[in-house]
Symmetry: C2
Subunit: 144 residues, 2 copies
DNA sequence: TATTGTTATACTCTATAACTATA
DNA sequence: TATAGTTATAGAGTATAACAATA
């Protein structure tokens, strides 16, 4: 067929920030998943452990809201971590329970945190500290 | 249980660039999907149209490699676009066929491109042009 | 031998709806 | 009425394996 090339740029993806964000995110997630696999943790599970490790009274609904995970998907995730002895529940009221790390859960979250930091250095270590900090602030600001 | 809070930072996610990249990417993809839905296109389908619109001889394997989509998943994607009359095949050799945009495919990809650009402005318009360009270059460089 | 295109299939992640128990 | 937690389920998106046809 015939068409005028004016309407689409010669390399459309070069100007699409969303496209490059996605490609980078996929790459980063794959590396993170591999970094956490030795501990039997998926990224979402590690995130939950990190969240609970912050301390304070947090129900699984609170955590789901903070991490963008729906209640329906939190249920089996939390149940799995409890079954593995990494989390425990503490009664808040009749319908809510605060989640706390067990000793084993604390230990594994420490190791997972170290692995996550190493992963981040692997992914972003080519940037200088100020560049990395600026990128973090920018990306954080764009969604939050 | 009891533990020393030293080993995990008070707000662990504040320093995790990968986490914020993912949250932003999810947000951006959702907005893009909504922006393309009126044309009956998913982001991956629009990407394929943009790719073909660049011109040059491109097989579906070429496009899959460039976009990070596996051959097995390209097959039904391309078949759908052909069935809708947006793409046509041209023989290259016995096992490869170059993909070209039909007139309808060109028209819809023009509209999808305009919608994509509007979407990008919606997502990233709060940044100044130099900031946006710097972010694009940085993110692109980190995965490519 | 390697590559293209295809089919079938499985797995993960995410979304929706409905239900209970409680506030 | 609204919320917490659960269950079941459906839909994307993506991954692997195998195959025929061709290079």
């Amino acid at each position: 067929m015939h068409y005028d090339a004016e309407s689409l740029p010669p390399d459309p993806f070069d100007e699409l920030l969303g496209y490059h964000l996605r490609r980078l995110s996929v790459l980063v997630m794959a590396d993170l998943a591999a970094a956490l696999a030795p501990f039997g943790l998926k990224p979402a599970e590690a995130s939950v452990l990190f969240m609970i490790g912050q301390g304070g009274v947090q129900t699984q609904s609170d955590i789901g809201r903070a991490l963008g995970i729906q209640r329906a998907n939190m249920a089996p995730l939390i149940a799995g971590l409890i079954k593995r002895g990494l989390l425990a529940r503490e009664r808040v009221d009749g319908r809510s329970q605060a989640l706390t790390l067990s000793a084993a859960g604390f230990e594994i979250s420490r190791k997972a945190w170290a692995a996550t930091k190493a992963h981040e250095d692997r992914m972003f270590g080519t940037l200088s500290d100020p560049e990395r900090e600026a990128l973090l602030a920018r990306v954080r600001g764009l969604w939050r």
